[in-house]
């Protein structure tokens, strides 16, 4: 009640001021309107705002240029006829959903960002990580694959988190990111025994033979190993994430939002899982 009275008083005070200074009020209102209009008209895509010329070209030519470094099987490799792999399939799927023709341009890894910068390609799908130093001009999508370190355990004794390994043994690949993470967790838990192996496959084999309770290895090795063997399973989430993302130019706001939308659909309807399962 008191607040309502205060509000009424405040309105009455402002009303008085407006009546007292009609010209000032008029100028202030016009200035505010101009500011709002200016803001609205200079938004991306508005009359005075920046235009997404890449999107315009894609709509006119019906093509989408994608930069890929084909030296990373099974994500991308140079087959005799075309570029094959998970990332090539993802590029083609995005293009199909945008109803455009994908044009995959192959290039060395160090040239990927330069090609994107100069407009040679519209997007890069090549196992990139988010690089905070480039976010002033690069727009990164959500991750399409997490290649991080993941726990692999026996299906009859599943392990989801590394905390569950307190007092147990974890097998890791020597000097890998999993090894580094296990060393950190050794300091956090009461007792975590770390067994090191030269290769990730050796670490997972140790879990199968009962030498270790779980292995902390990279997701790519884990998927390839589990494809051929039974009795082991991966945790639902990685312990040390390492997401691969699509890079686009930030100025191409229509393309980025369209790709984000398509990628969300591809993930939601299970197409991404199908593509990943095809290669890993």
């Amino acid at each position: 009640m008191i607040r309502l009275v205060a509000l009424r008083k405040s309105i009455a005070r402002w009303h008085g001021r407006i009546r007292q200074h009609p010209r000032v009020t008029f100028v202030a209102l016009i200035a505010a309107a101009l500011l709002v209009a200016g803001w609205g008209l200079t938004r991306p895509g508005a009359w005075l705002g920046p235009q997404d010329l890449t999107w315009h070209r894609i709509q006119v030519n019906r093509d989408l240029y994608v930069g890929i470094d084909p030296s990373y099987p099974p994500f991308a490799e140079w087959a005799p006829e075309q570029i094959d792999g998970l990332e090539a399939d993802l590029a083609r799927e995005i293009a199909r959903r945008l109803a455009v023709q994908p044009q995959i341009l192959i290039m060395g890894f160090d040239g990927l960002y330069d090609s994107l910068y100069v407009g040679q390609v519209d997007m890069v799908i090549s196992g990139l990580h988010v690089d905070p130093g480039r976010t002033d001009w690069v727009y990164y999508s959500r991750p399409y694959f997490d290649a991080g370190q993941i726990l692999v355990s026996r299906t009859d004794a599943p392990v989801q988190t590394i905390r569950q390994l307190d007092g147990k043994t974890v097998a890791v690949e020597l000097a890998s990111a999993g090894d580094m993470a296990a060393q950190q967790w050794q300091r956090r838990l009461h007792a975590l025994h770390v067994e090191r192996f030269m290769l990730p496959d050796d670490a997972m084999q140790a879990v199968q033979t009962g030498e270790a309770d779980a292995a902390l290895v990279d997701t790519i090795s884990a998927r390839l190993y589990l494809k051929q063997r039974e009795g082991l399973a991966m945790a639902a989430r990685t312990t040390v994430p390492d997401g691969y993302v699509i890079a686009m130019r930030r100025q191409d706001y229509r393309l980025t939002s369209a790709v984000d939308r398509m990628l969300a659909n591809i993930i939601a309807d299970g197409t991404l899982d199908v593509i990943i399962a095809r290669w890993l």
Partner: protein
């Protein structure tokens, strides 16, 4: 006079206020890090064969040069290979700017490191004008060989006490490193002769390293380059053996362990034995071999790379193997660190230390080997 006083009073206050604002704004700006040489250091190592190729050529900040070289010392490597491009020092004919090389040499000396200087590239004045011919930085016209030799002589004279050796050119058996021209072992021999004479005139005890050939299988007539073994044979047939004191060799393992047998049609670590055999066959068995580039990459996305644990095991085995060869003087691991890991992925995964000075497991393993400590990355 009163008018002048009035003006001073009027604008003097304003000037003082502006000065205060300037100080207030400038004050919070961080001062550049001070780089001062500490007391001279010495390298503690059980394995003097260990050396590493640093990448300080394009390092802008002096503290990074100092930090890099102190980490090299702490690792237990007593020798570094560093690249000193000719155009950086003699951008104008006869005018030398030593600031870049002095800075590196000063810090290397302070850390107790011996420097093997790799010399190469060509300043614009020594290349044909662009209107006449478009050339790359590695294009050294034959009529400028003596200019390069003169530069090497001046360089050796300046750093006579700090230099362990000088490497003459880099990978001349690749056309890209030979000015995008067909490779020419006989011309390289001419270059070696002129440089050898100039370097020894400046310092008779300097070690001139020839070769530094890229391990490649390119056949005769290839547009890309020439097989390193054949190139060395042609060099020696042209008389190069008299114009270098030791052979510089680049040998990489790629996916093979160091124990893999040497074969002429395979690139692996023991390819150095094939080059050594050529030297022996041509009567130069007394000349030592400096492995000025070697190593394994653990890049997860390169088909020629190995896993991180394999990299450690292969590198340590290679060092032990090379130590058992009496004809090997140094094994220089490519590369210690590079200014920016974002610009060159291939070399970033060869590096022992990240751009932000994070020591990788391979660094700690090599350090443990060199210092006689227990390997923290024992399988």
């Amino acid at each position: 006079m009163p008018q002048a006083l009035h003006t001073v009073r009027r604008y003097g206050g304003l000037a003082v206020r502006l000065l205060l604002i300037w100080f207030a704004l400038e004050g919070p700006a961080p001062a550049p890090p001070r780089v001062i040489l500490g007391p001279p250091q010495t390298v503690e190592t059980l394995h003097p064969v260990l050396c590493t190729h640093t990448r300080l050529t394009d390092e802008v900040e002096e503290w990074k040069i100092q930090r890099t070289l102190s980490m090299v010392r702490e690792m237990g490597a007593a020798t570094i290979v560093e690249f000193f491009p000719w155009p950086y020092i003699e951008a104008q004919r006869g005018h030398y700017n030593w600031a870049f090389s002095d800075r590196i040499m000063r810090h290397a000396e302070n850390q107790g490191l011996t420097v093997v200087a790799r010399l190469g590239l060509v300043p614009a004045w020594a290349r044909p004008p662009v209107v006449e011919k478009v050339t790359t930085l590695s294009y050294l016209p034959y009529d400028q060989f003596d200019s390069f030799a003169a530069f090497v002589g001046v360089f050796v004279a300046r750093y006579s006490t700090q230099l362990g050796a000088v490497i003459i050119w880099n990978e001349p058996n690749l056309s890209g490193e030979w000015g995008n021209r067909p490779v020419d072992p006989e011309a390289y021999t001419d270059l070696l002769r002129l440089v050898y004479e100039a370097a020894h005139a400046a310092n008779p005890s300097i070690v001139v390293l020839g070769g530094a050939l890229a391990p490649t299988l390119e056949p005769e007539g290839s547009g890309s380059g020439l097989n390193d073994i054949r190139y060395l044979e042609r060099m020696l047939e042209a008389g190069a053996g008299a114009y270098f004191d030791a052979l510089a060799v680049h040998t990489y393992g790629f996916k093979n362990p160091p124990q893999a047998d040497p074969e002429p049609n395979v690139i692996n670590f023991r390819r150095v034995e094939l080059l050594r055999a050529v030297m022996v066959r041509y009567g130069y068995s007394s000349k030592l071999v400096y492995i000025t580039e070697s190593g394994w990459s653990d890049d997860p996305r390169w088909t020629n790379a190995v896993r991180p644990g394999q990299r450690i095991a292969f590198t340590l085995d290679a060092l032990r193997m090379a130590e058992s060869w009496p004809w090997v003087k140094q094994v220089c691991l490519w590369d210690f660190r590079q200014p920016s890991d974002r610009q060159n992925r291939r070399d970033a995964y060869y590096a022992l230390v990240s751009s932000d000075f994070y020591p990788k497991p391979i660094y700690e393993a090599v350090q443990a080997y060199a210092r006689g400590w227990e390997n923290p990355y024992q399988p």
